[in-house]
Structure formats: structure tokens, C-alpha cells
Symmetry: C2
């Protein structure tokens, strides 16, 4: 049953990744190799390897002889990240408008309509969020450029740990849906420039909203939280 293709380091990397995305590992948390090792029931070697990989992926940072720390993005960098992401998604949308196959366009529309439906019957906001991210992803994939897709995914990944702060007010949901409406019409109409501009602005606004929300809550809770909670990652 041992998978010869999947090394333990991979398993552990995935596990840590998922803990970061799920929010159990809050940015700023420091991790110690030994504990992770015993927790996962392996030696420190594969743990170290997993950490190295995650460092390069940007999800955790580390310097020589210091503990690894779940990457913490200061507001400036977070803004840069969203700006870059919005540009990339813009480029992807531009290319996608001209390159998506009818099937891909159909798929995109299906996603969009499921989202609209979810909104109409006030379905699960989590489902809506999932559809939203599928929408973006479908557009990006449509550009048929591996590098662009990879890079966009990578940036989305780095933002992901912060997405969980996102508030989903009915107003925001509606705005989101109408944004998507505009984008998809542009793609269907074959107007690449419009598609680019709209998804670009849309993503940038999303980031803006998220940052504003984080900034608001920062002063209230997170910063004043007892340091013990954030500082050590104990089992």
C-alpha cells in the first residue's frame, strides 16, 4: 500500500499546506521540525524537505538556524500581491477570450449560472465562494498558457490564507455576480480588451475589500491577542 511515487516529504508538505489554507496554521505561527516530525511519525529529514519546498512556494519563511514561520504578509505586500494577481488574471482573460474552445466557454457559463442560481435561492455562501473561485479558475485555464496558469495559481495560493477573513454580505455577493456578468459577456462577445479590464478591476476591488476588512479587524482583535496563541504551534 506504500505509494512508491509519493515520498513522505510530499505527504507532509501537503498536510502542512492544507493546515495553512484551512487556517489551523495562522500566518506568523512558528513551527519546529522535531515536533512536526513526531506528530507525523517520521524523522526530521522529510519534514525539513517539506519545509524547504514550502519556503520556495512562499507559504513559509525561514532563515538559517531559525525556526520556520508561516509567512505573514504585511499590508503592502498583500496589496502588491492582489495588484499583480489582477494584472495576471487580466492578461489571462484577454488571451482566453480569443482561445477558449466552445466547450470551455460552455463550462464557464454553467459555473456562472450555478452561481446565479445559488444567489437567487440564497444557498450556502460557501458553495457560492467555491463557484466564484471556479469561475476565475476556468477563465485563467482558458488562456492555454501553462506558465500563466501556474503563476496565477501560485499567487492565488499565497493569498488564500487571508481569504478566510472575507466577509460575504448579500450586497457584496450581488456586486460580485454582476461583475462576473460583465466579464462573461465580454468573453462571449469576443471583446478581449473589455474582458481584461473588467476582471482586472474586479480582482483588484476584491483585494481592496479584503484588505480593508483585515485592517479593520487587526486593530480590534488579532494584534491584541495574547501572544501565546500565535507564537507557538504546539500539538
Amino acid at each position: 500500500m506504500t505509494d512508491r511515487e509519493t515520498t513522505q516529504a510530499d505527504t507532509i508538505r501537503l498536510a502542512i499546506e492544507s493546515e495553512i489554507f484551512s487556517g489551523s496554521l495562522v500566518p506568523g505561527t512558528s513551527m519546529e521540525e522535531g515536533r512536526l516530525a513526531t506528530r507525523f511519525g517520521v524523522s526530521r529529514t522529510p519534514v525539513r524537505e517539506a519545509i524547504t519546498q514550502l519556503v520556495q512556494a512562499g507559504l513559509i519563511s525561514k532563515s538559517a538556524h531559525r525556526r520556520a514561520v508561516v509567512s505573514e504578509l504585511d499590508p503592502g505586500t498583500l496589496l502588491d500581491l492582489f495588484e499583480a494577481l489582477s494584472e495576471l488574471e487580466g492578461s489571462a482573460a484577454f488571451l482566453s477570450t480569443m482561445r477558449m474552445s466552445p466547450d470551455e466557454k460552455q463550462h464557464l457559463m454553467t459555473i456562472h449560472e450555478s452561481a446565479a442560481d445559488n444567489l437567487r435561492r440564497q444557498g450556502d455562501p460557501n458553495d457560492y465562494a467555491k463557484l466564484g473561485s471556479a469561475f476565475h479558475h476556468a477563465i485563467v485555464r482558458g488562456c492555454h498558457n501553462k506558465i500563466l496558469i501556474e503563476t496565477t495559481d501560485w499567487m492565488s495560493l499565497r493569498v488564500l490564507p487571508y481569504r478566510r477573513f472575507q466577509v460575504m454580505t448579500p450586497g457584496r455577493l450581488k456586486k460580485n455576480q454582476s461583475d462576473h456578468d460583465t466579464i462573461i459577456s465580454a468573453i462571449v462577445a469576443g471583446d478581449a480588451e473589455i474582458a481584461r479590464d473588467n476582471i482586472q478591476r474586479h480582482t483588484l476591488e476584491q483585494g481592496d475589500a479584503l484588505m480593508r476588512f483585515i485592517a479593520l479587524n487587526k486593530t480590534k482583535s488579532v494584534e491584541r491577542l495574547p501572544r501565546a496563541v500565535n507564537e507557538e504551534y504546539s500539538l
Copy 2:
């Protein structure tokens, strides 16, 4: 003399990196941990760590239980890379047009004029290439977006091992310079859209030319290719 900040893994990573960029390590070469270890006079542990890092950087590829291989970009991926890079540089130029300080613009112009001068007096093509890359870099840095800069640099890096094939004919040099002319005028004039479109097309064309050249020479033995204008790219 031992540097407490620089770990052996780092040293080795840098060494391998530089060998890849300098061309001593041709894409496709497979590397074996043990040999590298004895060559660098260390154990396999730091070598493995260096390799892991380079894998994440995209310069080396590796799968479980198989030897590490210097990444080889198939033509499709190389094209994707240039397309993505051109989009990113376009975005950067767009932002730079609005964000560069007078000092930065001045610096950019200085570079551009040095290049023009080099061209007029038929100076060293290596110097010209260096100025060209400085030109691009100055524009990208001008966007003041850390992530965008990092990502662009990363992509340029991945293309670097292939730049050594670039031929610098007088005609190409002249075209290059006039492209840069157009770009810089747009930036100075504050026309962000024009700046974006022009640098985007410019970089894409560069990539195209490079790929055409590689395709032509593919039939011949790759290792036998002239060690062209590439010293400047060593790190």
C-alpha cells in the same frame, strides 16, 4: 571565516545555479547527489536541500527515486514563458509609466542613451546586451510592486539558460533600439497603454526570434553551439 548566515546548502545552490546560467550545465543534464557531494566536499544532505530549492525555482526537475535533471523547456513551454513574461512586463510598464519617480525616469533614459551610443560607435555587443537587460529591469522595477518585480525576475531567470543562443545581428540590434525608443517615449509622455502594448510586443518578438533560432539549430548537436554572447548573464 565560517558564515553563520550562509548554510552549505545555500552555497551549493548558488554554485549549481551559476553553472546552469553559465552553460556548463546544459538543460537535460542529469545530476547525481553523491557526485555533487564529493565534488563540493560535503555530505549528500546539503546537496539534497540545494536540489530541492532549485526544483521549486524551476531550474531543475525531479521525481521520486529518480535523478535530478536540469530543466529542459520544450518549445511550447518556452513560448508560454515568453508570452507570460511579455504580459508581465507589459503590466509593469503600464504601472511604471504612472509611478516612476523623475530620478528613475532619468536613470532609464541614461541607460537608453548609453545603449544608443554603444550602437553608434559599434561598441561591444556584450555591453549592449547588458544595457538592454538593464533597460528592461529598470522599467520593471519602476512599477514599485515587489511581487510583480519578483515574478518577472523569476521568469527571466527561467529563460536565461536559453538566451545564450541569442544572435545579435546589426539589424536586430537596430530594431531593438528603435523598439526601446518607442517604449521610452510612451513612458515619458505618460501614455501607459502605449507603453504596455509596445514593451509587450517587443518582448514577445524577442522570444519569437530566439525560439526560431533554437528551432533552426536544433537539428545540429546542441552542445556544439557557439558559446555566444552569454558571459553577461553569469551571476
